[in-house]
Symmetry: C2
């Protein structure tokens, strides 16, 4: 027996087709339709038929799309999975090290289950949280996942609901927390049937990627519930420890209770119910403390936010790049401000945005910000998907990583970053609709023409080879120079765990000295100095504390410590303690 | 000598035409253009010419449009006016009684100066704050003002800058504060040249009335400043004591600092500079406490908000109407909730909005809400512009007014309400563009067809007679029944000033008893009971306090006080004290 319930306020008749047999649903209040079908069982395929139309539609809340975005849905019994993770407790965000990965390219097989043998490696590296890029059903078999459509269905090509549960359960058995990236600002262009069911979208606001979700016009109470229930499902039925909410700056909601505040309140209620802590991480480019202020105090109640400013400040210093949004960054002063305050833009004019941006987040702890040297966007949204060391070299990658792991923020790394993987992370798609495939390629060609890239040099996202080139090559991490980079990351993570001054999120604890012309910077976290020389010459850098420090870690060989401070070789970093 | 400065970021050349002589402006940073013209003097007409185009344009910040929205601007010296109001201090909002009026229909002459002889009347009535509907330049000579365009220019037909200053100065000399209604959510369709100068508008969001103002896309730093400077001008150069911000629910701003928060901060800085308190009153239908929470605590920092729920709860009980947005109201329970909490909708589903609405404002003082029994919208947006007594009769008007003036909120009345004026307040326009005039009539015919009004019964807003019918007839207020209604309002205002329990904004101080079937309600403010019998029969109403009260005011004759409480005649109210 199964219970079917769907919202279709404009329909005059709603039927469900289970194993080729049609049954009517009964109209209920507010546009809901319901029926109990005695013969339907978990594992059965089904689809909805609205007003006798020819094409049956997948369930908006389909738990599984075994045939892709256009096919039938399949019934899933979430209670049937044999979980063995009851003893697991996630590390708090304050001591977290997050590892972002993409299921399709993390392993050659590209499935949830194929990731399981790699978990020991992640534990050994010191990772506490695995963060999966979106896994819900998207068109075709290859994609980043941000143009997904069936929000409740883990991708069939990755292994569907059972595969995902196995992965989360295995992570928990190893002591690893698992976060999921979810996209609540728009849905992908292909396979999106929501609009045929009801007003899930609105024309009142616009997003750069597709129709804005209806969070504040008629019908929004149901549309809001759809997204809230989706979040609760991942946290409850799949045991995820938290969600990363994609690009919440593209969510416009003028309701008295913002959808993100509602979500935070609902997740808090769920925490009490399941007896486990859950975290909400919001990606936002608004530099608005409201995103991470508590619900009830004018905030949206997210626990922490993805913060691009730290990345941009680091990236521009390490690479010298100044195109696109990098035009707003590039000085050591920006980097110093980023490492102290997380936001560089806290009210002043942004040349890239052509408007004033941000607000000071002075009262907020460093753990309210997830920061990174690389992530899927910053690598993958480049024309050639280059990783940082491809542009800046390995010496500078090491400097950047040292600054990241000694910052007061929550560090995140992107799969393969820790060994300076030679593979790029390219933008890839597998649109079944050839027009969409063509549009994606042309869009990228146009975008990168502004940066001087010839059209033919842009990899075609639809080409399977573009995807294959992005798959990690795990063999290389045992060879040089990859192995020594891996050791560098491992040691940095160990230091972060060993010294409480590094994970201390109180930002008054951060002092930064720097010199724009001599290109050095020293970040002081109580007794620990992270001293960097980014010039091409050795140089002497005065340390604020006069006593002789101990070298905890250094990337160059010829470091010399003396009464005036320290002398570092070119392009090197040292972490000192006294 | 005069200094000209205008923002025109897309222009290649900008000139100013003063007394038929053209001068070039110099390009400055960020799209600004500037010039000092030696021969220009206050009183001179001027206009801008962009890129040698034929048609000179009015200044976006024009201080005066003596020839209407399409004509030249005129230089004004704000420092030249001989103010004599230095001793004035406005009453605080907590003890305010606000009188909303429309300059064009308040007197037969319809000008700022023609209002001055009526100020003694307002003082005698007990008014503390006069609130003017928008006065900035709008097309033609007749209009409500919400489709205005030249935000810095008092309407030439009302008497321009000098007339307005004379009115404000005269109000202050009488001890009356003056508030101005300003529209920052859109501009009118006719005479709006802002778009030719720069990106003052955005397509990212939509309003029901016209293009949304650009508060959060490129160029918004200047567009925001335009509105902030406008607010500061009225408060500084015209000595207004506060602003009523029209329909802020139609302002969408995703910036870290919301434009209203920025405005509140700027106004607070101005208060310190001019040494006088200024108030910001936001009209909002979002039922969102954020609007009135302090800046820095997640709020927009408005001092108080216009609150429709109290009106709707009162209006539906008094009239029995249940069409349109009145469908969400109509019970004594709603009225009781409104009189206690201001918001009836604080999170539940609204049938009219077809979504959940609002958030509880429990922590906010009653002075954070401006409430009314009638206002320009609630009267004028009816098909026939009927005032409350035209629908509900004078007995019920008196009951409504008693509930309004004994509430914990800030009361507002609409011109003529206090004597049950026989004149309607209709929707009138004077569009010079005949297509717009026609569109307005057709729009209203369509709107009211849903309520059963035949097209030909809708007064044509463009017809001068529609305007003339709305002009107050001051002679009638000395005749019955108008005079006795006027006395009723006067006594209610006196009671409010006499008894501190009535102006006490603490809402725990309000207790309400009611009976849906017997149609009585008693509002208890410590020792004062406002007891209403809305049935067609006399009835006994038990009072919560057993002692024998004193009658402060009553609308029916045969009131009897006894040990069980009070017996009231049909359709009457009594205010009792013990």
């Amino acid at each position: 027996m199964a219970f079917f319930k769907v919202w279709a306020p404009r329909a005059q008749k709603v039927q469900v087709k289970v194993k080729n047999s049609l049954s009517n649903l009964n109209a209920k209040d507010h546009g809901w339709w319901e029926a109990e079908i005695t013969k339907a069982r978990p594992g059965d395929d089904y689809a909805y038929v609205l007003d006798d139309r020819d094409k049956p539609l997948p369930d908006p809340r389909s738990p599984f799309q075994p045939y892709g975005v256009h096919g039938a849905s399949r019934l899933v019994d979430h209670d049937a999975f044999p979980w063995t993770d009851s003893g697991f407790q996630a590390q708090p965000l304050s001591s977290a090290v997050i590892y972002e990965c993409h299921v399709g390219t993390f392993t050659p097989k590209g499935s949830f289950e194929a990731m399981i043998p790699k978990l020991d490696y992640l534990c050994d590296l010191g990772i506490t949280h695995v963060e999966l890029m979106p896994v819900n059903e998207f068109p075709g078999s290859r994609g980043w996942g941000y143009d997904g459509v069936d929000l409740f269905a883990p991708h069939h090509h990755y292994g569907g609901p059972d595969g995902l549960k196995k992965l989360v359960n295995a992570c928990h058995e190893k002591g690893l927390a698992v976060l999921l990236d979810v996209v609540y600002n728009h849905l992908g262009p292909d396979g999106n049937y929501l609009d045929q069911f009801g007003p899930y979208f609105t024309d009142r606001h616009h997003t750069p990627w597709g129709r804005a979700v209806n969070f504040d016009t008629p019908g929004s109470d149901v549309a809001r519930r759809f997204f809230v229930d989706n979040a609760l499902m991942w946290l409850r039925d799949y045991h995820f420890d938290g969600l990363r909410l994609d690009a919440i700056h593209a969510i416009v909601d003028t309701s008295a209770t913002h959808i993100l505040e509602e979500l935070a309140n609902e997740v808090e209620a769920l925490e009490a119910y399941v007896g486990r802590q859950k975290v909400l991480i919001a990606e936002s480019n608004l530099n608005d403390p409201r995103v991470i202020q508590p619900s009830g105090f004018g905030g949206y109640g997210n626990h922490t936010q993805w913060t691009d400013d730290v990345h941009h400040a680091l990236h521009t210093i390490l690479t010298g790049e100044n195109q696109g949004y990098y035009i707003d960054f590039g000085s050591f002063a920006d980097l110093a401000k980023a490492l102290k305050n997380a936001y560089v833009y806290d009210g002043q004019y942004s040349q890239f945005r052509r408007r004033n941006l941000g607000k000071p987040p002075h009262h907020l702890n460093g753990h309210k910000f997830v920061t990174f040297l690389q992530n899927h966007d910053q690598v993958g949204n480049r024309a050639q998907g280059e990783r940082l060391h491809h542009i800046a070299g390995i010496d500078r990658l090491k400097i950047g990583a040292a600054l990241l792991f000694t910052s007061p923020f929550v560090p995140l790394i992107f799969q393969g970053e820790e060994w300076a993987a030679s593979t790029p992370f390219l933008y890839f798609t597998d649109h079944q609709n050839p027009d969409l495939g063509k549009a994606v390629l042309e869009g990228r060609r146009r975008e990168f023409a502004d940066f001087g890239w010839a059209a033919e040099s842009i990899p075609d996202p639809q080409n399977e080879n573009t995807f294959q080139r992005s798959v990690l090559n795990w063999h290389e991490c045992e060879t040089e120079p990859h192995q020594s980079v891996l050791q560098w990351y491992k040691k940095l993570i160990q230091l972060r765990k060993q010294f409480p001054e590094l994970t201390d999120g109180r930002r008054q604890d951060v002092q930064v000295d720097y010199d724009e012309t001599k290109k050095w910077i020293n970040v002081q976290r109580r007794n620990i100095s992270t001293v960097c020389n980014l010039s091409d010459d050795p140089q002497e850098i005065a340390l604020p504390v006069p006593e002789k420090p101990v070298v905890l870690l250094k990337s160059g060989n010829e470091i010399s410590i003396h009464d005036r401070g320290v002398t570092l070789p070119p392009q090197s970093v040292a972490i000192l303690w006294q």
